[in-house]
């Protein structure tokens, strides 16, 4: 039970690092399973013949077989799978896409910044806005503010992102909106290239993507905080003569926010796998759009790549959530 600042050396053998190491091994295993399942699904239930697709309508059988060979599709399934895994592990090579011969790893990595920009920006907004509204609502339950905020949250949860995006564009689009306010879709520029364009092109997508999340988080925060405010330890804090602000923020909110952290980590992990609709409507070149296109085209290597990427982010998010949870709740021990 003794406590002291653990030396870095001791940290290596600490339960936390052992936990992380074990989870990472588990992650590799999970990713293998995910890749295998994705592989089998798209082979067992194929929607088309990739070789015929690539060969073209006039191709004869010989031509299709040549293409099949080129695409490695004439090998036994297990061989194809091991070849794929080998390439991924040894060369970070996810193959190339059937439909346009583009390198899958290139496509994934080149689209990652846009997806990260979109997801992180939206996450910051929904976290700040959702938590703030949740707190204010919980502090004045059944007040006018609370009623408006929770009514709005219900709308936010129910409004389909795609529809919302189209409505916002119809109202504010630079080219055809009622007010010419927001830049045309497809004006996304990488942050490193043009920070201004990056920001202005992402601002509305952020808001739209974050809206339903903000609504969910506001409701979650409100419910959690209302419950927490009734907890004995909040009464203790008040009895100690702490200021109201300190009681709410340091005692009640601190405890009420932990489930939010879990939800946040997982939601962010899922979004990093791509926000298909928002990316599509605003033409943000991210992973979501890529995966959607790939499914439309029965483009197995890209589907595999995006599935693996998404799984990777979700698993990493899970691990991070567990670690963060252990940090913020001392009762939790990583084991």
């Amino acid at each position: 039970m003794t406590r002291s600042l653990a030396s870095p050396l001791r940290a290596l053998g600490s339960p936390t690092s052992r936990y992380i190491a074990r989870r990472l091994v588990w992650m590799v295993f999970l990713l293998l399973v995910v890749s295998l399942v994705a592989f089998l699904i798209f082979y067992a239930l194929p929607s088309g013949d990739p070789a015929a697709q690539r060969a073209g309508k006039g191709a004869d059988e010989a031509q299709i077989e040549r293409v099949r060979h080129m695409l490695y599709l004439d090998r036994p399934l297990y061989e194809q799978y091991f070849h794929y895994i080998k390439q991924v592990v040894l060369h970070f090579d996810f193959g190339f896409s059937y439909s346009n011969n583009a390198d899958v790893a290139d496509q994934l990595t080149s689209r990652l910044p846009a997806t990260i920009s979109l997801a992180l920006g939206a996450a910051v907004i929904w976290l700040v806005v959702g938590v703030a509204i949740g707190i204010l609502s919980a502090l004045r339950p059944r007040s006018l503010f609370d009623r408006i905020a929770m009514g709005g949250a219900l709308l936010g949860i129910s409004a389909p992102v795609y529809w919302l995006a189209l409505v916002v564009l119809a109202l504010l689009s630079q080219s055809y909106g009622v007010i010419h306010l927001i830049p045309n879709t497809g004006s996304y520029k990488p942050l490193t290239q043009d920070p201004g364009a990056w920001f202005t092109s992402l601002l509305v997508p952020w808001i739209i993507l974050s809206l339903s999340f903000a609504a969910i988080y506001a409701r979650l925060m409100r419910a959690n905080l209302l419950e927490t405010l009734d907890q004995d330890f909040v009464r203790t804090a008040e009895a100690k003569g702490l200021s109201r602000r300190r009681v709410v923020m340091r005692h009640a909110v601190r405890a009420a926010i932990t489930p939010i952290v879990t939800a946040f980590g997982l939601d962010l992990g899922i979004l990093l796998g791509g926000a298909v609709l928002t990316e599509s409507v605003f033409n943000i070149p991210g992973i979501g759009r890529l995966s959607y296109d790939a499914i439309q085209d029965s483009n197995l290597p890209v589907i595999q790549g995006t599935v693996l990427f998404a799984a990777f982010f979700i698993i990493i998010a899970n691990i991070l959530v567990d670690i963060v949870y252990a940090v913020i709740d001392p009762r939790v021990r990583l084991a």
Partner: protein, 605 residues
């Protein structure tokens, strides 16, 4: 919810124009959804309200070149579909052709004002087809240069290599077998030299054929496969998989007015002027007005269409989505134009009961409410109701009967004729004119509007007792797992969502691959009717080997009539494609490709 975006899909990674007609046409924009039958519209009036007629009348934008077009500026293009293969050896898709045709000079090209006129491009004059049809000779210009990094004069060997590499595994051209397959030695070549392509000097190229198909080959020399490729520069790269010229098209040595400056698959494409191109001086008929073309790839086709409507200097490389068409027609008719594209038909399996009986097929054709089917696709603006297979604008169309049809009574009514249908069923041996046999199986689409048109067909056939069981699958599955596989057709009676458009402006590629024995092979076939009539096969082949234009069109037009009379499929739509542009653009349509030709398109003040 995340999956409700309907993308204008380049579903055919097949990348084929033919699949494209259903894959990249307005198919993917959801149907306008008007339902019910079309009332008493007669076939004649239905024809008259088609898009191209209105373009001619001046109601909509007429996309032809004019003398007062401006030079310079940057054109901003958007493409929700994106591109598949920008390598001219591999390209086989409408969107890809937009790019390959302005980056490379093919041997021949079309007059944008009249696509029945073929203009020599890299060639100096018309191709000479020997009387026996087994030799085709083309002379090329001696003053065309490759752009960077090759920077040298194009020779006949570069054209030869451009065609030869079509058989390389990494290029895998999709139409080689159809039009170039008769070249001597092509069957053995795998990207290496083809004996039957001779280059006696630097400006002469001679194709030696094992069959008398020179007339068709000469017409196919407009295809991007005839683009010159510098052998010494390209050969080492073509051995790699995936092909570097496709993966990174900036590597291509351009001969056309533009070259690819940058390309990011699914994101963007930038075309700039090719410094080695010198226009008229080397015989290129194209003006190439704009200095640069920026293509933004991706996005939602509906949103793109709205933005283009109000944004100066923009153009869409996608077929307009149906909601966009409706809005442009109302709000911006001078920014939308229509062009003929191809046809759509319900293929009936002629090798299987009950459609092996000609009278049952005629009855099915007679009862089909083609007007209601067109309504499901979006009404008159998506095209005319078809009465035969060759579409308006196609060579041979008039010879086959033109707008008035071939005279087949079972295709006379756009709404279906119950009495006539019953009379044919009686001839087929069904006493009271009602079909009594087992159910028939159609492979339908799970996606709009193919799903809805299939439903209309099913309802029509039910009126004469033919019960249709619809097997609904994804559009691409319909093609690649059923209607293009001979074995799968053993349990299928019809493919209601088939369509075709020609690889070049000619009647032969509109008929031979889909309605003759040429279209039947175990997999990847294009004749789901399994229709093979020896007399008609010979007739079509004869037409394909006829070099004389008028004679050729006469024979193939007659073949269209003869096929229509046999009803291997029920033609119901002659497709129209709608193309849209923003203000400040003078767009010109490449009628052979049914979409903008960017080498003729300019900005206006």
């Amino acid at each position: 919810m995340e999956w409700t975006v309907r993308r204008l899909v380049a579903i055919g990674a097949a990348g084929s124009l033919a699949l494209g007609i259903t894959a990249c046409g307005s198919d993917d924009s959801s149907s306008n959804g008007s339902s019910g039958s079309g009332g008493g519209v007669s076939i004649e009036t239905a024809n008259k309200i088609s898009g191209p007629a209105q373009v001619e009348s001046g109601k909509f934008y007429k996309a032809v070149p004019t003398a007062d077009q401006q030079k310079g500026g940057t054109l901003k293009a958007s493409s929700a579909e994106g591109f598949q293969h920008l390598d001219p050896g591999t390209a086989y898709f409408q969107g890809d052709y937009i790019v390959t045709s302005i980056v490379h000079r093919q041997l021949y090209t079309y007059d944008p004002a009249d696509s029945s006129k073929v203009l020599p491009d890299l060639a100096t004059g018309p191709a000479e087809v020997s009387p026996d049809g087994k030799t085709v000779t083309v002379k090329i210009r001696d003053n065309v240069k490759f752009g960077p990094p090759v920077n040298r004069t194009v020779t006949s060997d570069d054209v030869k290599y451009g065609i030869e590499r079509g058989l390389a595994a990494s290029v895998a051209n999709g139409y080689f077998a159809s039009y170039f397959g008769d070249i001597i030695g092509a069957d053995k070549a795998k990207g290496g030299k083809i004996k039957g392509i001779e280059t006696p000097d630097k400006t002469t190229i001679v194709f030696k054929l094992k069959a008398p198909s020179g007339a068709t080959l000469s017409k196919a020399l407009v295809l991007p496969l005839s683009s010159p490729f510098p052998r010494e520069y390209a050969e080492p790269k073509d051995k790699k998989t995936p092909n570097p010229f496709d993966q990174d098209p900036t590597l291509q040595a351009a001969t056309g007015p533009y070259m690819i400056k940058s390309y990011s698959a699914g994101r963007s494409l930038t075309l700039v002027r090719n410094p080695a191109w010198n226009g008229k001086a080397s015989g290129d008929p194209r003006p190439a007005y704009v200095d640069q073309i920026d293509v933004a790839i991706g996005g939602d086709s509906s949103v793109n269409a709205r933005e283009i409507q109000n944004t100066k200097g923009t153009i869409s490389l996608d077929p307009a989505p149906s909601d966009g068409v409706a809005r442009y027609v109302k709000q911006a008719p001078q920014q939308i134009t229509f062009s003929a594209l191809g046809n759509r038909y319900i293929a009936l399996n002629t090798k299987k009961k009950p459609f092996d009986d000609l009278n049952v097929r005629k009855a099915a054709a007679a009862i089909l409410d083609r007007s209601a089917m067109r309504k499901q696709r979006g009404g008159p603006l998506v095209g005319e109701i078809a009465t035969h297979f060759l579409f308006p604008g196609s060579p041979g169309f008039d010879e086959a009967g033109g707008e008035n049809g071939t005279g087949a009574d079972f295709l006379a009514s756009a709404n279906g004729n119950l009495e006539l249908a019953k009379s044919y069923l009686k001839k087929a041996g069904f006493k009271d004119g009602m079909y009594k046999g087992p159910k028939v199986v159609f492979v339908g689409d799970t996606e709009s509007p193919g799903r809805e048109t299939t439903q209309v067909a099913k309802n029509s056939l039910a009126k004469i007792g033919i019960q249709v069981e619809v097997k609904s699958v994804k559009h691409i599955t319909m093609y690649q797992k059923f209607c293009q596989v001979v074995k799968a057709m053993e349990s299928v009676d019809g493919c209601p969502n088939f369509g075709w458009l020609p690889d070049f402006v000619d009647a032969y590629p509109m008929i031979a691959p889909v309605l003759t024995d040429k279209g039947i092979q175990p997999i990847n076939m294009n004749n789901p009717s399994l229709f093979s009539d020896p007399k008609i096969n010979a007739e079509v082949e004869k037409g394909g080997r006829t070099a004389d234009e008028a004679q050729r069109n006469q024979i193939l037009g007659q073949a269209d009539k003869d096929i229509t009379a046999q009803v291997p499929a029920i033609p119901w739509l002659w497709d129209t494609q709608s193309s849209i542009q923003g203000p400040g653009v003078h767009g010109v349509i490449a009628t052979w490709n049914s979409i903008w030709d960017l080498a003729y398109t300019s900005l206006t003040k």
